[in-house]
Structures are given as C-alpha cells and as structure tokens.
C-alpha cells in the first residue's frame, strides 16, 4: 500500500518533470521546445499555458468558495463572537476583549472539562490502539473465515455514534440494564451499580463506548499496515533465530511506526471532537461532571445563554486541534517521503 502510494508519487513527479519544464501544457501539438522570450510566439505560448491554469482554477473555484464560506468565515466569526458579551446566540453584544477567556479559565467546570478531555483522549487512544493492534495482528494470519470475521469487526465503526451511544446507555442502565443483570447473575455485585451517578463512573462509560467505536478503525488501518510489511523480513529474522516476540519487537514495531503515528493522530482528531456520545450517555452530568470541551461549549452557548463564553471554549478546542493537525501533516509528509 505504502509502496504503491510511493510509486504513484514518483510517477506523478516524473510526469511533472517531463511535462512542465517550460511551463508548457503536456503533449501540446506544435509546442516545440523554445526559450521563453519576448518573441510573439513565446508570449502566445506563455499566455496559452496560463490560460490553461486559469481554466483549471475555475474547476477548483466552487470548492474554494465553499471552504471560504463554511470554514474561513465561521472560524473568524467565532473569534469575534468570543470577544463579545453575547447572551442568546443570534444576537450581537458589546466588545469586551478577552474577558470571556479570563472568565472561562477561572471557571472550575472548564478546568475539569479540560482535564476530562485529556483523560478521555489518552485513555481512548491507548485502548483503541492496543486492542486494535492486537486484533490486527491476530487477523494478519490467514485462517478459515478470517476475511469474513475481519469485515464484521468494522460494523461498530459504521454505526452512527448516536446509535451506539443509545445502545450502551440502555446496556448500562441502572435498573434492568444488561450489564448490571449480567454482573448480578455472576454474583459479582449484589445491588445494581448506577453508572451515571458519579463523574468517575460516567467518564468510564463514555471512554468504554468510545473505545468500542474506535477499535475497528484502528484495527483496519493497522491491519493494512501489517500487510505492507514484507513477509521476507520476518522470515529472515526467524532464520536468524528470533522468536515471535523478538520478531514483533524488532521487525514489526519499527516498520509499523509511520502508520501507527497516523492512526493515533487521526484517533486524537476524532476523539477530541466527540460530542454525541456524551449528550446521549450523560448529557454532561452529573452536575457537569462529564463535560468535554465540545459539550461544555455547547452547554454554555445553547443552554446557559453565554454564547461569548461558549465561543471562547470552542476556540480553545480549535487551537488544540490545529496543533494536532500541524503534527499530523508533518507526519504524513514524512510518511510519503519514506515511501
């Protein structure tokens, strides 16, 4: 897979090199190699090649307009919102500088939401990745039904998150929930556990469900990463006397590093955006005990009518995502370079 992507890159680069030496369109009939000069023919050619670029830019233009209207504008608008005192979201308010940010930094709920978002991120990613890697390596061996079972495992990832959240909200229900019933029939508990009555248990459930949703994604990408490691390398290591653990440690792990980095960073991006799971499982409760940055921004703006402060929290989350995005892009570039 990586090799293929690398080949494509190389091919594209070769084409670019061969076709655009003089800024000409590729394979133009009558476009003889010629120095770019002030001669009429050269000028005409220059115009023609740039005409082509303008024409191609027109193909990109509608998408560009969409990105400007639906990303650039809302994000800059979000900055001005966070600098104003706004109550109901559709209204405007007076400019109050960084007051909303100060207010939110000093708010204990924001502090807890920040810490909980961090815990949620680290725990989710750790378990998604390790379990996903375990499943990927198990299925990297070929056996009866392996392809079929591997495809079944993706199902949880394709479910709308709100649907998965609803399933687990019912499974973890205090009265009659199947988890309590099972624990009770195994005599592990005598009275039902109310999973949503403390911040700790609520966060546990949210993380549990998010891990369940994230495992397939990790497993699929890591599986394809494992497939790209040439079998000869492991065979060679085996001939040199490496056991299975050593083969994993010294052959698989280093070669899986680039894919792992990308999987982890995409996991961070998906996880930090999590919103629906919290709303359906706990709605941020009890007593704001399971708010993440996303749901806390929502609660401030849409329920507490403190839109300015909500925008401030949303912007903090945005800055965090952009930092991750920076590292993601750096990692993917290196990945392409390696391939």
């Amino acid at each position: 897979m990586r090799a293929k992507a690398g080949a494509n890159e190389a091919l594209a680069a070769a084409r670019t090199a061969s076709s655009s030496d003089d800024g000409r369109a590729p394979c133009l009939v009558g476009a003889l190699p010629q120095a770019r000069s002030t001669s009429p023919k050269g000028a005409r050619q220059w115009l023609r090649s740039h005409h082509k670029q303008a024409l191609l830019a027109a193909f990109v233009l509608p998408a560009l307009a969409y990105v400007v209207i639906f990303f650039a504008y809302p994000l800059t608008y979000g900055i001005t919102m966070s600098l104003e005192k706004i109550g109901f979201i559709a209204q405007s308010g007076p400019f109050i500088g960084l007051h909303n940010y100060k207010e939110e930094i000093n708010d204990p709920v924001t502090g807890k939401a920040l810490v909980d978002t961090g815990i949620f991120l680290v725990a989710s990613i750790f378990f998604q990745f390790t379990i996903g890697l375990g499943i990927a390596s198990y299925f990297s061996r070929r056996f009866f039904l392996s392809g079929f079972l591997r495809s079944l495992i993706i199902i949880p990832w394709l479910f709308p998150p709100i649907a998965s959240g609803t399933i687990f909200a019912i499974m973890f229900a205090g009265q009659g929930g199947i988890i309590n019933e099972t624990l009770r029939s195994l005599h592990l508990i005598s009275s039902p556990i109310f999973w949503f009555d403390s911040s700790f248990k609520a966060m546990f459930v949210i993380i549990f469900v998010n891990v369940w949703i994230g495992i397939p994604f990790n497993a699929v990408l890591l599986y394809s990463g494992l497939q790209d490691i040439p079998g000869e390398l492991r065979e060679a290591a085996a001939l040199d006397g490496c056991g299975p653990w050593q083969r994993f440690r010294y052959v698989t792990v280093p070669l899986l590093r680039p894919v792992s980095l990308i999987v982890i960073m995409l996991g961070v991006i998906y996880t930090v955006k999590t919103f629906d799971l919290v709303i359906v499982l706990t709605n941020g409760g009890p007593d704001n005990g399971s708010q993440l940055m996303s749901t806390w921004a929502y609660t401030l703006a849409f329920q507490n009518f403190e839109t300015g402060q909500g925008a401030a929290v949303a912007n903090m989350l945005f800055v965090f995502c952009m930092i991750v995005a920076f590292f993601y892009i750096r990692a993917t570039r290196r990945e392409v370079a390696i391939a």
Binding site: F143, S151, P156, L266
Partner: protein, 287 residues
C-alpha cells in the same frame, strides 16, 4: 524421536486450523455483542419496567417494536435520507471538478498551489464541528436556514466535501495523464475532457467518496441537534435521542429505531465494502 517430532508437527498444523478460527470467532463475537443484544431485544416483547431477558435468542419473535419505531420515526428517516443524499450531491459536485483541477494543476507548474490546497483540505477535516456550529447558527438565523434541510445539507458537507476531494484527487492522480492529453489532442475542451473522459473513469472513486459523505451526513448529530433547535425538521439522529429520552423504560422500540438507523451501514458493508476499505486507506494514508 522422529515420530515424536512428526506428531508435534501434526498437532501444530491441525490445532492451528481449529484454534485460529475459534479465537477469531470469539474476538468478533465480543465486538459484536452489543449489536447482537440490540437486534435481539428489538425483536422481543418488552414492557415497562420489565427486566430484560437473559436468553440469547428471543423467546418469540415480534415485529411490533419495529412498527412503533417506524410510526414514530418515518418522517425522520425521510428527512435524513434527503439530507444525506443532498450532501452527497453537493460534496461530490464540488469535489470532483476541484480534484480534477488540482490534479491537472499539479502537472503544470503549480505544485506549490496544489500542495497548499491539499493541506487546507486536510486541516479542514480537523476543525471541530462545535467551533463552526456557533457561527453557523447565527449565519443561518439571518439567512433563514435554521430548521431547514438545505441548511443541514450545507453544514453536513463540511465533513464530506474535503474528504471527497482528497479521495478523488488520490484516485485521479493514478489515471494516466496520456488519456486527457489524447482528448486534448483530439480537440476536446477542458470541460469536455473532464466530463467525457475523466468523470466516467472516476466512477469507483466517486462511489467511495459518495458512500463516505452519505455515512457522515447520515450519522451527523451535532449539526442536526444544534441547527434545528425548536423546529420541526428532525433528522433521525436527533429523533433517536428524543425517542430515547421519552421512552426511558420501554426500550424495545428505541432499539428497533437504532437498528433502522444502522441499515445504511449494513447495506454499505454488504455491497460496498471494497469501496469503504479503499476510502479508509486513501483518506487516511494518502491525503
């Protein structure tokens, strides 16, 4: 000694053949247990405050939960279908020409422009929806797009359009450049080349991109929840939540609704799996 070794090989070979599939079944079973539980409960009679049965198969099949679910949510299903299809048309409609333009610009002397564009598309996928939706609310309020299917199509395409462009660009990069050159030599205009040569070739990638955009929009909750507040446009994700909060004790119909919401995923998994796999890898690893 030799015989002992042969026995060992025999057992290793045959035990493997049995144990590996069993282990695989256990792993898949554990992962799918919640879904099995959902399907099973949705087919079973449940009444208020009655503890769920512990049986692995329904004592007797009923479809009344589905009737209740469908009666309550059929409007939402139609709304979500319209939104998701609209998002597919809009996202792919914007993404396909953009991907073509970017690919061709890459062959000219515009690689810097192209890599900036690709980077912007990557970054847009990492913008949290909550950072957009506050401004969307205000914007849509003034444009009268709140509580409208059109508004949700526009908002949902924020996750679909950049992804579709990246997937399509990755695919078009593998189409031999000689094809469009040949069309050019034959006198086809840029638009004609795009429409009659490139677009038909890109159909597999269009399907991949379309499936993903559909799933994103079908599963969207954030915009459905925030941009329809108090209105009568209720996408299925929002419908599930209110159905659930209004039926905290009678779970059969709620879980039946969950199954209905999962139908597109199931169909895509059965018929479009290779497209999904291709998209997952292209979107994540190529960029």
């Amino acid at each position: 000694m030799n015989r002992h070794f042969a026995m060992q090989v025999f057992w290793k070979r045959h035990l493997r053949r049995v144990m590996l599939p069993i282990g695989g079944l256990v792993i898949a079973g554990l992962m799918l247990l919640p879904i099995y539980f959902t399907a099973e409960t949705s087919l079973e009679p449940t009444s208020a405050l009655q503890a769920l049965s512990q049986s692995l198969v329904p004592s007797h099949f009923i479809f009344s939960n589905y009737r209740v679910a469908f009666d309550a949510e059929h409007g939402s299903i139609i709304t979500s279908l319209l939104i998701a299809s609209g998002a597919v048309v809009l996202s792919v409609g914007l993404a396909l020409p953009a991907a073509y333009g970017l690919t061709k610009l890459g062959y000219l002397r515009s690689r810097a422009v192209v890599s900036v564009a690709v980077m912007v598309l990557l970054v847009t996928q990492m913008v949290p929806g909550i950072s957009l939706t506050l401004a969307f609310y205000k914007l849509f309020y003034h444009l009268h797009l709140l509580n409208s299917i059109a508004g949700l199509i526009l908002a949902d395409s924020t996750s679909g359009m950049p992804f579709a462009t990246l997937v399509l660009r990755a695919y078009l990069g593998s189409v031999p450049v000689e094809l469009s050159d040949a069309a050019y030599v034959d006198g086809a205009s840029e638009w004609r080349t795009f429409r009659s040569v490139i677009a038909p070739l890109a159909v597999p990638a269009i399907i991949t991109a379309g499936l993903f955009v559909f799933l994103f929009a079908w599963g969207d909750f954030l915009f459905a929840y925030t941009l329809t507040a108090g209105g009568n446009v209720t996408p299925l994700t929002k419908g599930i939540l209110s159905f659930f909060t209004n039926n905290t004790v009678n779970w059969g119909p709620v879980l039946a609704t969950v199954v209905l919401a999962a139908i597109p995923s199931g169909l895509i998994l059965s018929f479009g799996q290779r497209y999904v796999m291709g998209g997952l890898r292209a979107g994540a690893l190529k960029g």
